[in-house]
Amino acid sequence: MSAREIRPARLSTTARRRLVHGGLITAALVYVGTLVLAPLVGIAWAAIKPGWAPWKETLTSGDALHAYELTGIIALISVLVTAVFGVMVALVLSRDRFPGRGIVSAVADLPIAISPVIVGLMVVLLFGRGGWFEPWLTAHGIQVIFAVPSIALVTMLICIPFVIREVVPVLEELGNEEEEAAKTLGASSLQTFFRITLPNIQWGLLYGIALSTARAIGEVGAVIVVSSLIAGQTETATLYIFRLFEQGHDDQGYIVALTLAAISIVLLAGIEIFKRREEKELSS
């Protein structure tokens, strides 16, 4: 009561609303700016400041090229696998009602909730020395752990949720009437999927793919557990960045880091731009 008496005049409702809005917008900008944008600008600056010489050195070194190549291959494999199986799981989750559906849905989310290091350890547990699958694998002369297959495997595990999470809501909103209509018109299940379902979920799917690509490129925690860290063999780009800093090549470390970040940003921005263009075309 006393506070009101001291204040010369009460703020009007519009003024107060404007103040609240302004405050929220400022908070959002500061939050995103300091936590996301500033470090990004920092890396970019650190990578550009020393001039072109370190760039040339980095991008022509054999270790760097191999690291990029390995990261590219790993990302490609895990994204392909998680996209195909992700769509399958999404179809099952959104179309079928069966006992244990909730469990499947929750398990599919697990890789987001579990630390990547633990994901790496789980793979070691299955495929490493004394692991469940080790006797069979050694008997057949297949090296999984501390080799490329295990890196692909953990990356896949980490990437599982993205496509599923993006596609399930799209499918649920879509319903299955269009698919039923296609079937009454003679389309087989496969034809229905490729001609009706896939075009309708394409943006959700592409978002999921972009997110899991970004994640696959940047993954380090799980990979570090299962990789033998041999340069030119099992060293991904992120692991290569680690080694560069450890050995005092900070300049090069920033450069590799910037290129990885740039790939992810271009990917997400590209999809956003394409989607907007398509939507504009449809509505015109």
């Binding site: 009437e177 269009e178 039923e180 209509a181 296609a182 079937k183 009454t184 018109l185 003679g186 389309a187 087989s188 034809q191 001609r195 009706i196 075009p199 309708n200 449809l282």
Partner: protein, 359 residues
């Protein structure tokens, strides 16, 4: 089997504990429009979906144009299916939507073009060929859906609440238009609706369904004027229900005696079904069959008024009276009523029948 129509025999379907369709049999005649009429949850859509092959029956047989289809996959049944919410392919133009079935059957491109043009002409949507579904109105979308269903020359046309998502005016228009189209094409058509007016206006034959069973099969005239069960009497025309006891061929309630119960045993509890349009204000001298009531509420609907009367024994009676022949009434006024076309049924054991009749 009646030539080239649709016949179902002893069809049965459960969803978990819910018995959606119970031992249903009927035939939809070749070249006719047949309506399956029932309230929501009566199993009518499930029957249609089983005929199309979108749902598998637990028991029974489906025959289309004389061929058993019970286990034939939906793709091979060659039925045209129209969905309540159109189910147009949203990422395809109107042309591609209509041509979809032909493209799937690997028809030649020029032939598809020709047939699509022909159908768009038929549904009066030729100028809209290159549009997308979300650029069309509801009525236009449903006509595209119809053209799409007809494009591949289906053996029969199945329509699931085809006008259910449209507003009243468009629904009227589309109904008349579908009637014309059917006269032109003569394709055997079976449609599902909860709207009795729609069924009576469009169909050659009406199948009234309730709780997964057939209640009555007949012409619109049959089911309207000669309801076979209390449910049909109550459902078609939203009838009033008056309760009383049978005495000397009359239903007795309070001081009133209503004739028409000669077929019921003395002392039985019975219900009289009277449509709002069969309630009239007594003109001229009151007879022994005039009923004393009080006007309770008047809702003017333009050409007619809905009036709620209260009989002296406390039962309510809803009337639908044309405004031009009606004397000016006001609430509280005492009025004598005539009741016509009364249908009398003994009380059913099944309480759901009573709930379905609208008092």
């Amino acid at each position: 089997m009646t030539g080239n129509g649709i016949e179902i025999e002893h069809l049965d379907k459960r969803f978990g504990n819910f018995h959606a369709v119970r031992d249903m049999s009927f035939a939809a005649e070749d070249g006719k429009i047949t309506a399956i009429l029932g309230p929501s949850g009566s199993g009518k859509s499930t029957v249609l979906r089983m005929i199309a092959g979108l749902e598998r029956p637990d028991a029974g047989r489906v025959t289309i144009t004389g061929e058993e289809q019970t286990w034939v996959p939906v793709q091979e049944r060659r039925v045209g299916f129209v969905f309540q919410h159109y189910a147009l392919f949203r990422h395809m133009t109107v042309r591609d939507n209509v041509g979809f079935g032909l493209a799937i059957r690997k028809e030649k491109k020029p032939e598809i073009r020709r047939r699509v043009d022909e159908l768009l002409e038929l549904v009066q949507l030729a100028p809209f060929a290159e549009r997308y579904p979300d650029q069309l109105s509801g009525g236009q979308r449903q006509r595209v859906a119809l053209a799409r269903a007809l494009a591949a020359r289906p053996r029969v046309l199945l329509l699931d609440e085809p006008f259910g998502a449209l507003d009243a005016r468009v629904r009227q228009e589309l109904r008349r238009w579908l009637d014309d189209l059917h006269r032109e094409l003569g394709v055997t058509s079976l449609f599902v609706t909860h709207d009795q007016e729609e069924a009576l206006e469009l169909a050659n034959e009406v199948i009234v369904m309730h709780l997964g069973r057939v209640e009555q099969v007949g012409t619109p005239n049959d089911v309207y004027n000669h309801p076979a069960s209390p449910f049909v009497a109550g459902f078609i025309g939203s009838a009033n229900v008056l309760n009383g006891t049978v005495r000397d061929g009359h239903l007795v309630f309070g001081e009133h005696r209503l004739p028409g119960a000669a077929h019921l045993p003395d002392g039985a509890t019975a219900h009289a079904y009277i449509r709002p349009i069969d309630v009239r204000i007594t003109q001229g001298a009151p007879s022994g069959y005039s009923y004393r009531t009080t006007v309770e509420r008047i809702n003017n609907l333009g050409p007619s008024s809905k009036i709620r009367f209260r009989l002296t024994d406390g039962q309510a009676l809803l009337a639908d009276l044309p405004n031009d022949v009606m004397p000016v009434l006001e609430a509280g006024q005492q009025v004598l009523l005539d009741l016509r076309n009364v249908k009398m049924f003994e009380r059913e054991q099944d309480p759901k029948h009573e709930a379905a009749a609208i008092a």
